[in-house]
C-alpha cells in the first residue's frame, strides 16, 4: 500500500525546507468559509494527495495554489516566495484540469506546445520538447489529432503532457483519473507514480477517491469542512486514523462504542454493550480517563469469524447471528448482528474455490479480534 519509497520522508526531517507552505490560510466566498485557518507543508518531490468529500475545500486549496483564487487571510509560499498577487500565468505551477480542458480548436501537438509558445521559446526547441512529451505519454502517433478524435484515456495523457511540458516546479492534478473507467484508472495510477518518480517533480493531487489516494500518495491530507483533519502516510491514515471521520471515510470500519474501565499491562480495558466481557485494546498512544466514553474502530478484515466456540485465549469476543452474506469473488462480507442490535462487518478471503457446508444465514457465530487490531478514537 502506498508509494513505498523507504528512505523518502522529508516531512520527518526538521532541517528540510518545504516547497509549499500554507500558513493560516482562510478562504471565504461571501459568508461561506471554504478553507478555514489551514496550515500545511508540502515538500519537494513529494506525491501529495488532498482527500476529502466534495465541498471539503480541497479544490479551493488547489485553485489557490494555481492562482485562480486568492486567500482571504494567511499566506502561501512556494520555494520561499510569497505567492500573494502573483497571477496564474506567472506561477511556476501547472495544472491538469478535471475536465482536461483541452483546447478543442488545437490538435494534440499544439495543445502540448501551448504553454511553451507563451514563453516565447524558439520553434525548434518547442518542437523538440513537444516530441519528448509525446514520447513520454506514448502518443507520438496521435500528434495531429484533435481532442474530439481521442478516447478519454488519450485525452487524459494529452492533458498530462501539456501540464508537464513547461517542467513546472509543481504539478497540480484535479481528480486526474475521475473520468476514466475502473480498469484504466488502476493502470494509470501506476503510470502517474512512475512518471512522478522519473521526473522528480512535486505532484499535488486532489481526489475524493480514497483508494486512488492510498495507492499513489506519499502523504495524504484528509480534509473536512475546510480543515485538515490528518496529514500522514497512507499506512498511518488507514491503521491509525485520528478521528472517527477519517476511520469511516478511508476504508470500511466497525465502530464499537464503550467506556474506559482501566489499564492493565499497558492495554486498555473497555466496557462495551456490544460485547459480553471487557474488550482489550492495544493503543498506547491514547491518554484516557477512567469512565471516558470512547469508540473502538476495527477494520472488517481484522476480525475473525468462528463457528461454535471461540478459542479459549481469545481476548475480544463478540457473539452474533449472521444477518447478511455478500459474495464479492475475492472476499466474502459477512454482516453479523449483535444482541445489542449493532451490526459488524467481517470480511474473509476466499482461499479455496469450493467450501463444504459454508456459513449460512441466521447461523450463530463468534467474532474475535486481536488487541492490536483495534484503534481507540476519543470522542
Amino acid at each position: 500500500m502506498g508509494a513505498v519509497r523507504r528512505s523518502f520522508a522529508p516531512w520527518a526531517d526538521p532541517t528540510e525546507r518545504p516547497l509549499i507552505r500554507f500558513e493560516n490560510v482562510t478562504k471565504r466566498f461571501g459568508d461561506a468559509v471554504a478553507v478555514d485557518r489551514l496550515s500545511l507543508d508540502i515538500f519537494e518531490r513529494e506525491f501529495f494527495c488532498l482527500l476529502g468529500p466534495s465541498g471539503c475545500g480541497k479544490t479551493t486549496l488547489m485553485r489557490m495554489l494555481a492562482g485562480f483564487e486568492q486567500p482571504s487571510e494567511g499566506s502561501i509560499t512556494l520555494a520561499d516566495r510569497d505567492l500573494a498577487g502573483v497571477p496564474p500565468y506567472r506561477r511556476p505551477v501547472n495544472m491538469m484540469f478535471q475536465s482536461y480542458a483541452l483546447f478543442p480548436h488545437m490538435n494534440v501537438e499544439r495543445n502540448i506546445g501551448f504553454g511553451l509558445r507563451q514563453d516565447g521559446l524558439p520553434r525548434a526547441e518547442i518542437a523538440a520538447r513537444v516530441d519528448e512529451m509525446l514520447r513520454l505519454v506514448q502518443l507520438e502517433r496521435l500528434a495531429k489529432r484533435y481532442p474530439s478524435q481521442l478516447s478519454g484515456g488519450q485525452c487524459q495523457r494529452v492533458a498530462l503532457a501539456r501540464a508537464l511540458a513547461k517542467r513546472p516546479k509543481l504539478l497540480l492534478l484535479d481528480e486526474p483519473l475521475g473520468a476514466l473507467d475502473k480498469k484504466l484508472r488502476e493502470e494509470t495510477q501506476f503510470e502517474l507514480m512512475d512518471l512522478q518518480h522519473a521526473l522528480g517533480m512535486t505532484f499535488v493531487v486532489v481526489t475524493h477517491d480514497q483508494e486512488e489516494a492510498m495507492t499513489m500518495a506519499d502523504r495524504i491530507a484528509v480534509m473536512d469542512h475546510g480543515r485538515i483533519v490528518q496529514v500522514a502516510t497512507p499506512g498511518e491514515i488507514y491503521e491509525q486514523p485520528k478521528t472517527r471521520f477519517i476511520a469511516e471515510f478511508v476504508g470500511d470500519v466497525n465502530i464499537l462504542e464503550g467506556r474506559v474501565r482501566g489499564q492493565q499491562d499497558g492495554l486498555w480495558q473497555v466496557e462495551s454493550s456490544s460485547a459480553h466481557g471487557p474488550l482489550t485494546v492495544d493503543d498506547a498512544d491514547e491518554v484516557l480517563q477512567n469512565g471516558q466514553a470512547i469508540a473502538i474502530a476495527v477494520r472488517p478484515e481484522k476480525m475473525v469469524i468462528h463457528r461454535g466456540e471461540p478459542p479459549p485465549d481469545a481476548l475480544n469476543v463478540l457473539r452474533g447471528e449472521v444477518w447478511d452474506i455478500g459474495y464479492l469473488g475475492d472476499w466474502t462480507v459477512y454482516r453479523i448482528k449483535l444482541p445489542s442490535g449493532a451490526i459488524v462487518r467481517v470480511t474473509r478471503a476466499n482461499r479455496s474455490r469450493f467450501v463444504d457446508n459454508p456459513i449460512d444465514w441466521d447461523e450463530q457465530v463468534h467474532v474475535t479480534f486481536a488487541p492490536d487490531a483495534a484503534v481507540i478514537l476519543a470522542e
Binding site: A66, G67, F68, P87, P88, Y89, R90, V93, N94, M95, F97, Q98, S99, A101, F103, P104, H105, N107, F114, G115, Q118, D119, R141, L142, K144, R145, Y146, P147, S148, Q149, R162, A163, K166
Partner: protein, 268 residues
C-alpha cells in the same frame, strides 16, 4: 421528446410552415409576372428585374443601406462582444442591473420610441441627420442582439479552458485571442450577420434618423409601397430574399464544415 409525431403534430408543422413561406413564395413568383398588375398573372418575364437595376434611386438606396449595415454591424459586433464578456466574466460589478436593462430593453422596445428618442438626442447635440446618425442608431440597436447571442455561447463555454490557458502562461488578453475568441467565433459571426440583416431591414429607426443623401432601401421601398403595389418592388424583394437565402445556406455550410474539420483531418 422523441416519440412518433402524431397526425396533429404533422399537420401543425405543415400548416405552420406553409403560413410562413407561402407569402414569400408568391411574392417571388409574381416578381416574374409580365403584367403590371401585380396580382394578375400575365406570363413569365424578367422585365421588372431589369427595371429595378435601371432604377437609380433604388440602386443608390441599396448602396447606402449596404454601407450602413456593414459599418454598424462591425461596431455592434465589437461592442456586443465586449458587453457579453462583461456580463459573463466580470461577476457583479456596480451598475450591472442598469447594464442588463439597457441590453435587453432595446430588443423589445417599440421601434418608434427608439427612433424618436435617438433623433431628439441627435438634434439636441446638434449632429446633422444623415448617414452617420442612422449608422449610430443601428449600432445601438443591433449590439444588444449581438450581446445576447455571444453571451449564450460564453455561458456554455467551459471556464477551465480559459483557466488552462492562463495556467500555461497566457496573460488575459492573449488568453482571449488564442482560446476564447476562436471558440466563440461562430456566435460572433452569427451576431454580426444578425446585426447586418437587422440594419438592412430597418425602416422605422432609419426613417427618424435619416437625412439628405442617406435614404435607405427600406425607406425607398416603403414610400413606393404606400403608393400601391409595384412589380419593381417585387423584383427588388426577390433579390433581397435570394441574397439572404444564399447567405444563410453558405453560413450553414461553413459552420457544418468547421464543426467537421477535426473529424476530416487524417485519422490513422
Amino acid at each position: 421528446m422523441t416519440r412518433r409525431l402524431s397526425l396533429f403534430n404533422v399537420t401543425s408543422l405543415v400548416l405552420g410552415f406553409a403560413f410562413l413561406y407561402l407569402p414569400i413564395l408568391l411574392l417571388v413568383v409574381y416578381s416574374f409576372n409580365a403584367s403590371r398588375l401585380v396580382t394578375v398573372w400575365g406570363g413569365f418575364s424578367t422585365q421588372w428585374y431589369a427595371a429595378f437595376f435601371r432604377n437609380e434611386a433604388l440602386m443608390d438606396a441599396a448602396w447606402v443601406t449596404f454601407r450602413i449595415a456593414l459599418l454598424s454591424a462591425s461596431f455592434a459586433t465589437v461592442l456586443g462582444t465586449l458587453a457579453a464578456l462583461a456580463l459573463t466574466r466580470y461577476g457583479r460589478f456596480t451598475g450591472r442591473t442598469l447594464f442588463t436593462g439597457m441590453v435587453y430593453a432595446p430588443m423589445v422596445m417599440p421601434e418608434v420610441i427608439t427612433g424618436l428618442s435617438l433623433l431628439l438626442f441627435f438634434v439636441a447635440i446638434d449632429l446633422d441627420r444623415g448617414f452617420l446618425t442612422v449608422m449610430l442608431a443601428h449600432t445601438t440597436l443591433t449590439m444588444c442582439f449581438v450581446t445576447v447571442i455571444v453571451q449564450a455561447r460564453l455561458m456554455t463555454l467551459d471556464r477551465s479552458l480559459e483557466e488552462a490557458a492562463m495556467d500555461l502562461g497566457a496573460p488575459p488578453l492573449r488568453t482571449f485571442f488564442s482560446v476564447t475568441l476562436p471558440l466563440i467565433a461562430p456566435s460572433v459571426v452569427a451576431g454580426f450577420l444578425l446585426a447586418f440583416t437587422l440594419s438592412l431591414d430597418d425602416l422605422v429607426i432609419a426613417s427618424f434618423n435619416t437625412g439628405p443623401g442617406a435614404t435607405t432601401l427600406p425607406i425607398r421601398i416603403y414610400s413606393q409601397v404606400r403608393l400601391g403595389l409595384s412589380p419593381e418592388i417585387n423584383a427588388a424583394s426577390a433579390i433581397l430574399i435570394g441574397i439572404v437565402t444564399l447567405g444563410v445556406i453558405v453560413a450553414t455550410l461553413i459552420s457544418k464544415r468547421s464543426s467537421l474539420t477535426p473529424q476530416r483531418s487524417e485519422i490513422h
